[in-house]
Symmetry: C2
Subunit: 103 residues, 2 copies
């Protein structure tokens, strides 16, 4: 199983509409991915490791898929539409990470 | 529910013993946290977003807890012992992120 993570770096003064992300964006992407996406997860950053430090990421969205190839094949045809939705909830440019789930 | 994430940045030439991390370190930390930790997760970074790019993080470990306070109360008494185990599997200094689970 792989986990495709979309990480939104915390950035002073840059907003993130968590309601839109959870209710509109993530369900839309999950629907586009179809059966390639087994489940999704979303977290909102609340703190860093040091006392009073902001979180490294203000938000993180995750897609659990059978393989990186399955994700890419399902994501490719919809990439333009999915990217075009990002400005509806944040001006932050996300980082993508693909990981293998070990535990 | 909060997720405490320990993120190990990818660093050219710096190793990470995933076997030790999954079989020794994470179970040891989970045992020290006791009932404050509901579950754990571990992922190994395999790729970044751009073709051929390395992952941002070579490894990520997560602890799911009822609250940040519950985690801190359980983690505090064992912090020295837990930190002292890190050199047994990597020379990489991790980043800590505390997040609220939304989905």
């Amino acid at each position: 199983m792989v986990k495709v993570s979309v990480l939104y770096p915390y950035s002073e003064g840059k907003g993130f509409d968590m309601g839109y992300y959870c209710e509109k964006h993530m369900p839309m992407v999950k629907e586009k991915l179809g059966s390639a996406c087994k489940s999704i997860a979303v977290e909102q950053g609340i703190a860093g490791g040091a006392p009073g430090a902001p979180p490294t990421y203000v938000a993180m969205g995750h897609f659990f898929c059978e393989s990186a190839e399955a994700f890419q094949a399902a994501f490719g045809p919809h990439v333009a539409e999915i990217m075009a939705d990002i400005p509806n909830y944040t001006p932050i440019q996300p980082i993508i990470q693909i990981s293998e789930v070990k535990i």
